[in-house]
Symmetry: C6
Subunit: 267 residues, 6 copies
């Protein structure tokens, strides 16, 4: 059984560059096992942060990429059939609750609003998970914590968390790191010079100003790292930016020209 | 079999601070096994109340967090396959009816309107649950009672209980406790001083006045307890309120500023 | 096999107070095995009436609370897997048809319109039920009768019975009993005095005048019995009416005040 | 195997009173195995006609009440699991095609338009039914014929047969029989006098003039037989008409009064 | 295994009267295994043509009547359970690809647009079918060809083939044959005289002018053959046309009268 | 196990004519295992390009034609039942990740937006695939890369990739090759002369100018190759163009005439 949980241990410290007091606040929240909600745009480091914290706290981390087809059974578990008949298979949420892992539900608004209801009994002082099909009332391990992420920009009337879910979580805001830190991150992750990394960050800043004016979302730190990696492999920076930054974010010819021009300005 | 039901016993008296005659009314309702409906906003103590009553009455409590994907089989039970062939597994409603537990259907409006129909034969004088797949007409244990909760604020034309369901229940209104009691509760549950708890309640009161004016729901007692827990752990009260009170309830920058200002007023 | 059907016998005569010639008409309808449709508002006694008739006629009664998720297999039956392979399990409709029970489909409009089509071959002179999955053409037992209920008030364009279904049934109208009879019923069922019961009926009459003017449905006889039961247990009549009559039927503050005022008038 | 098909034989000649040349036309159509479509309002005798023809032609009759949830597998067949593994179970359409029965799909427009596509290969000169799951191309028995019914009055843009389906069938129109014949039928089926039967027919004629003016459908011959049966059992004719004719067809108070008045005119 | 495919051989040459160069074009297309799309109204001979070509080319023909409920597994195959565990069962598409048959998807627009995507890898130069559930990459037999039919008249925004599907097929237009040929076909298939067949064709021509002016579709050659068959059996031509031509295509009284008048003109 | 993956090796170098620096950019992207997105119209060579690259890089290629009914299990894998109980079957994505193949998701926008979420953990630095049903956290083989294609022309509000998906990919634009290259490709693939191939390209160019003016999509290179193949088999060029170019792309008579005229201009 420990084998199953051990594969979820974050054994190498992930590179994470704190931007404010988020590490301390998360530690305090963990100390009272407060369920946490990480809010921010795509690719700004929420997933990396939770990996960093799992490593720092020495707890296994079970990540679930949420999606609309996810059923309660996908989270909680199900019976499987084998030679001896049926055998219960814990889902990721039950696994985390039973073994004291941090369970990270990524992009939780993608899940059907009502599926998220199954986490409720784990988020108040009961800290239980009813495995109704198994007839077991699973009491969460003392180390268990639940963390969710979501991107407020996607939120619509149709897809938002219910207040009765939101009010069960503490919240931390995330955003793209400020210029100096982001430059450092890009250089560190790709091996390119701070100067070239700074140019990539400048392009990203321009794109972020276009958010809501033809772009759904600005360029993320993750994309800058992709571009930097290509440059580090010897690809011409303009081609690298075309492939890794511009083509992925837009199909609109005008917007593409505007971003290509921004690339040309810096390289 | 008793093992299964015993895990649902509420062995420790939960902390509950009565606000009116709700305890006596519930006892009277239980004495005639009247099905009960607890109405009120999220996080005001409905779940805690039913745990308190289950402990007081000495009955096991089986809680079901309702959701739209819940089928009648999830409530009633199903056949599972094992080495000897199929084996019937009572669902939570059948389990409660058979063993004389209180069955608490939390946020019942989330369930599909027509799924709730399966509770009808348990809520009139027949007190039976037809397990059609099993060919059994389960007569409820004399101790069995059914309790549902719902939040009238969520109610819409699309999602409301049918009159033929509502009329099968007695109703109790819940709301946030009045100032003095709520302060006591927050202090008791977190260990912070009455003075600090009072400040948190003041912030909550401001937020509740904003309900319908940019906030879907005011801050709940449960959230104040989260904030108090962080403060008790040494977190700066302003940070604690940001994490536990403001960030979870709103993504709107103006509303966030208004709530942050309220926090700054008191701390 | 008889064990299965015997559990559906109504061994104790249920208390039922006839209001017109409905008992005689039902007996005549049963004598020619005419399928019957009981029409009327929720909680006015349709279910009790069919139990009374089943007892009077000495036939078992199988009741099915219809819902939108009910499939044809839920009514007709299915194969279950056990150690010897699959085994056929009659559904409630097949069980009733095979053993000569009265099959009562409660709130039949809730079922998907087309699911109700499976009852057609049982409602004309063929009186057969094709169990297509089993390859059996089940000929109904001579004692079998089918009874459905529905509440015309719920009926909409989306959810009504098809004419080709309706025309297969005889119809009986039900309504709340007239004042004197309803008072008697409430007193008989709860043990309170005729005077107090009369006050409850007066409150109900007021509410029934509000139907369509802010109330979806008036207070039912069943609710008066709930209120009376609380009063009989010593609960203050005003509290009893609040819990059992007013809170369940409305969330609208004005309507609640109007009903509370009606309660105050009589108690 | 013959046992299975023998239960579908129509061993007693059903009472059927021809109204025109429909019997001869159907015999000619059967002689070339032309698929047939019976069109007409509910309760006018389409089902009885096909039973009569099956008896006259000496062929088994397999009737399927179509509905929206019917899948192609429900018609064609499926694998069932038993102790020796899976076993193929012919659906009613395959059973009829294999053994040379008449397959009658009642109210075929209720089936999903595209499910009806599975009958196509049986309705052109190929006369085959691909049992794709079984890997068998079933060639229809020479005696096999397919018959469908539908009620043009129900037809809408959403629910009509496709032209590519319609064009595979010959068509016969049905309607309520003319006065003299209908009176005879009602008297014959119930044992009441021709005079009383004539009164019932008169009431039906009035109701049929109201079709489209507040009534979805006029009173059918089948309903008159229900009313007559009650009268034959000694029920007062006015009560019998109320139960068997008026209550089933309308919930509208004005229409009910109009029909009750028509009843009062004749009885 | 050959038994399975042999039942799909078209051993008798079907009667087919070419109208242009469609036979030669199809042969050329087959010689390069170009996937083909047959376009034209219902009942004009598309299915007959593909049977004729399969016989001429000496290849087995597997026909699938497409419908909206058809899943990718229905085309590709699935695991079935038997005594030895699961056993793979090729679907019709896999069967055809494996054994070198012509696979004919009739009325392909009825299938869900995205289900048709499974045929893509078979329609470009890869000619493979990934059986993902089986973990097999099935390479098509050199003789395999895919043919689809569709009726452009049914096409709507909701139900059309995607360009990325259409562009994978060559196209052949079909229509009702011209007068002389159609008369020959009807006489040949039914045994009636050329004179009577000519009258039936004249009626069809009138109906085809009404397409889009009250008729969804004109009378097809297939319907004329039905009418001719009844006449050959001795049915009065006017009755035969009523049953086989007029009643199936319309429920509109005016249109029915117009068509009945056309019949009366010629007979 | 190697047998399973070996069938996905591209052993013959596919014919591919580079149009710009796409080969080098893809190699660089592969060297850092950057997930790639190929954008462009149908039939312009995206699939051929990825086969060419898989052959050049010496990696197996697993292609998945995405569709709306594809579930996460179709990508990730599922338990199958056999004689020894259940056995895990890797889906194509798990297979590719486990064995180091390139996984190509063709027309990824066809998949449900949220199903695509399952690829997220494989597209950031974690490079893992949680097989939740199996309780395994699959770490991708170092050779594994994910490639997706999509056609921006199809994109709509309803069906577009989420930014949080897009930002995980580098992007390469594809289009029809320029005149000279396209002529070469058509001649090479069909064996017709450069002159005839050039005429086909001229027809295609005209059609591409009609895109958005009555045509959804211009003629693709793939269609020109179909037409050329028929010509090489001796079919008259005008007939070949009718069958392979004009009939497949349009049902509109005016557009068909315009394209037929374009064909007549060149042949």
């Amino acid at each position: 059984m420990n084998d199953i949980i051990d594969q979820y241990r974050v054994t190498q410290e992930p590179y994470y560059r704190p931007v404010a007091d988020e590490v301390e606040l998360f530690e305090a929240a963990y100390s009272v096992r407060m369920p946490m909600m990480l809010k921010g745009p795509t690719g700004c480091g929420k997933t990396r942060f939770v990996e960093y914290m799992a490593n720092k706290l020495g707890k296994p981390l079970i990540t679930v990429a949420c999606n609309e087809d996810m059923t309660a059974s996908d989270l909680v578990g199900r019976f499987l059939l084998d030679a001896q008949g049926t055998r219960w298979q814990d889902g990721p949420l039950a696994l985390a609750a039973r073994h004291g892992a941090i369970c990270y539900l990524d992009e939780v608004v993608e899940a059907r609003q009502d599926t998220t209801v199954v986490i409720h009994p784990l988020t108040d002082n009961r800290r239980v998970l009813p495995l109704e099909k198994k007839g077991e009332l699973l009491r969460a391990h003392p180390d268990f914590q639940i963390v969710i992420s979501y991107n407020p920009g996607y939120q619509s009337l149709m897809k938002d968390l219910k207040q009765s879910t939101k009010q069960r979580f503490g919240g931390l805001d995330f955003n793209y790191p400020e210029r100096g830190i982001e430059t450092e991150i890009v250089a560190h992750e790709t091996g390119i010079s701070l100067e070239v990394a700074g140019k990539l960050v400048s392009i990203a800043e321009r794109s972020r100003n276009l958010k809501g004016h033809g772009l759904d979302e600005g360029l993320s730190t993750r994309m800058l790292i992709y571009a930097g990696s290509l440059i580090a492999k010897g690809v011409n920076p303009i081609s690298a930016c075309r492939v890794a930054l511009v083509r992925p974010v837009t199909d609109d010819p005008d917007m593409r020209d505007a971003l290509d021009a921004a690339v040309a300005t810096f390289f």
